[in-house]
């Protein structure tokens, strides 16, 4: 498969962009975990689309976190990036932090974003269904928080093994960049819920039944309050949908985008 790595200058911010596959353009916005190198899930999407996979400021080799104070700054960064790529009405597949970001971009520039797939999206505070603490140090506890089966190979391989693991620096950078926009208010924008009725693209919401980080109630809330959304719940699946249900989630996303 064709993979191209680029470094863009987005309003002064050095930005890592990976482009894979062929076909019409599709924007993928990644999660706090920082899946900025193509994973199996991206490859599935790239069978039908040219997938644009940028790294958020502060993730991977992207810089410019100094100019990001909150989720709105991150959303404006993507307004700039889509301008640079000359993309409009582009379909988006987005996951967790990325899905929250996609919703914020759609609100401030509705013409830039087309149909949206929102997987295990952050962004809301739902009374009675609090999000668990993501900013903990123990990888064992994170595995239990994020994966349906914390003893699976994906779960074991996902995190740096210890502080000598070369991935640790990127991991710490990803945590810092996530905290920058998601520490307080915790992984949500208090104003977002009040805007959902204005977010009128077709939306496919995908959620793991056993998501402990962002409970399914958040997916239900999005689906009920977005004007044009449907929800698909995946069984025996935690927060890590693209890893735990790679084929199913990709098939749902591609079916949805093919039908809009």
């Amino acid at each position: 498969m064709k993979i191209e790595n680029k470094t863009l200058n987005i309003a002064g911010k050095k930005t890592q962009l990976t482009i894979l596959g062929e076909g019409p353009p599709l924007l993928y916005l990644h999660s706090a975990g920082g899946e900025t190198e193509p994973i199996a899930f991206h490859h599935k999407l790239a069978e039908k689309y040219t997938v644009y996979l940028p790294a958020h400021p502060g993730f991977a080799l992207s810089e410019g976190l100094d100019h990001i104070d909150d989720i709105h700054d991150l959303a404006w960064h993507y307004v700039d990036l889509l301008g640079e790529l000359n993309l409009e009405n582009v379909p988006v597949v987005s996951y967790s932090l990325g899905a929250w970001t996609a919703a914020e971009v759609k609100l401030i520039r509705p013409n830039l974003i087309g149909p949206m797939v929102m997987i295990a999206a952050a962004g809301l505070h739902v009374d009675g269904s609090p999000m668990e603490e993501l900013f903990i140090d123990s990888f064992d506890k994170l595995r239990e928080l994020l994966f349906f089966d914390p003893s699976s190979k994906q779960a074991i391989d996902y995190f740096p093994a210890d502080t000598n693991d070369p991935r640790i620096l990127m991991w710490l950078r990803a945590r810092e960049a996530t905290a920058r926009v998601g520490w307080n208010p915790y992984l949500h924008d208090p104003k977002l819920a009040g805007h959902l009725h204005r977010l009128d693209s077709p939306v496919q919401v995908i959620w793991g039944r056993h998501d402990k980080l962002i409970p399914l109630a958040h997916g239900e809330y999005y689906t009920q309050h977005l004007p044009n959304a449907k929800l698909t719940v995946l069984e025996e699946c935690g927060h890590m949908v693209p890893y735990e249900k790679t084929d199913e989630a990709a098939a749902i996303a591609l079916d949805f985008l093919g039908s809009t």
Binding site: F135, T163, L169, A179, W183
Partner: protein, 384 residues
């Protein structure tokens, strides 16, 4: 050479099954464990110990700020310092410090410190700190802004003390149209400033450049202090001056009894309560609190942290605490103070579950049999 009595005001009644039941003495430890009536007794005992330090001739007392934890139940050190401003007569009152990113606006710290300075007749030492990692969870303050909030608050407080008000402050984190704090401090241009640090070069450079005093964050191996204090002196030389020993402070637990054996017999259980329970969860680095590279580095430094100790021998070999007869304590301190080149010794006399009477006994022995000779010896050594 100056001698200070430092207090954390710890909680001394953690449950016996604490080790199995709780991951930490911080942030998430249920506050039902805190019994307010016993808490009141503890606060009064602890204040009595610091008043005693003044009566015994210590140069100063130290209080500090921590939140939502059992390690140090002093969320407002300024309350304690204001009581001490009245109840002590001669000693310095060092608040080390106020976690200024949490003071909103930070001019509150300038105001309260000025009050303490006025009430005490100019005896305040002003510590200005970033706040510990766990506190960024307790306050839901974004740790990725910790350093820039600290710098902004720091400069604002110094300006508030030194520049005639009212003036405007339009910073990134605080926007204040009228900065004009009443009262102003007695000590001019402002009270002496102490800044604690855990060895980051950035902090050491900052303190050296501004000619403030650097207090080593405790519970590390002797070698770790040595490295940091040497780095501080180098940074002062780079700024074209030689560091005054009083720009450096060394904080550590001290216990003194009639003989070495008696000291260890009386102290050891209380020390382990501190090491194994109260230190649990202290070292937490929330994202962005310091750079990713520093976090990776500090993780290595933690191999030289007191919580890795398992035996009395580990404690003694690393110099994590000084325990023994007056002769032993004096001899060990003398050797190490000379080596480290510090002009302030900050003794943590009460620690963990150490009862009031034993704390007072140890302080009296120290003040009578260690301090006078050591002071003389060090003054001669440090000025030679």
């Amino acid at each position: 050479m100056k001698f200070f009595a430092f207090h954390l005001m710890p909680w001394d009644r953690l449950p016996d099954d604490f080790a199995e039941k709780y991951d930490t003495a911080w942030t998430w430890l249920p506050n039902e464990i805190f019994d307010p009536v016993h808490g009141g007794e503890l606060y009064n005992n602890y204040l009595d110990q610091l008043v005693l330090a003044d009566q015994l001739g210590f140069d100063g007392v130290c209080v500090n700020e921590h939140h939502q934890n059992a390690y140090g139940t002093m969320p407002s050190p300024n309350l304690m310092a204001s009581i001490l401003a009245r109840q002590t007569k001669n000693c310095k009152i060092a608040v080390v410090g106020n976690a200024i990113p949490f003071y909103d606006p930070p001019t509150r710290c300038a105001e309260e410190f000025s009050m303490i300075d006025c009430i005490s007749g100019g005896r305040l030492i002003a510590g200005l700190v970033v706040g510990g990692g766990p506190e960024y969870y307790s306050f839901s303050k974004n740790p990725t802004f910790a350093r820039e909030m600290y710098r902004e608050a720091f400069d604002l407080i110094i300006r508030a003390w030194t520049e005639p008000g009212p003036f405007e402050h339009y910073g990134k984190h605080w926007k204040l149209k009228y900065v004009n704090p009443w009262p102003r401090p007695i000590q001019q241009p402002h009270p002496p400033i102490w800044i604690p640090g855990a060895g980051s070069r950035e902090t050491i450079q900052f303190v050296a450049q501004r000619r403030f005093a650097y207090m080593g964050i405790p519970y590390f191996h002797m070698d770790f202090f040595q490295r940091n204090f040497d780095m501080f002196r180098d940074e002062c030389e780079k700024c074209d001056y030689t560091a005054d020993p009083e720009q450096l402070g060394w904080l550590l637990p001290i216990y003194c009894a009639e003989t070495d054996e008696q000291a260890w017999a009386e102290y050891e259980a209380h020390l382990w309560y501190f090491v194994k329970k109260l230190l649990k969860g202290l070292v937490v680095f929330p994202p962005g609190y310091t750079s990713a590279r520093s976090i990776a580095g500090i993780q290595k430094g933690l191999q030289q942290f007191m919580s890795t100790c398992e035996t009395r021998n580990d404690i003694e070999a690393g110099g994590y605490a000084i325990v023994g007869s007056p002769d032993t304590v004096r001899q060990k301190l003398s050797e190490r103070i000379k080596k480290l080149g510090v002009g302030n010794l900050l003794g943590l006399f009460q620690l963990g579950t150490l009862p009031h009477d034993m704390t007072c006994k140890s302080m009296k022995l120290f003040a009578e049999k260690v301090m006078p000779g050591l002071r003389e010896e060090m003054n001669a050594a440090l000025t030679s």
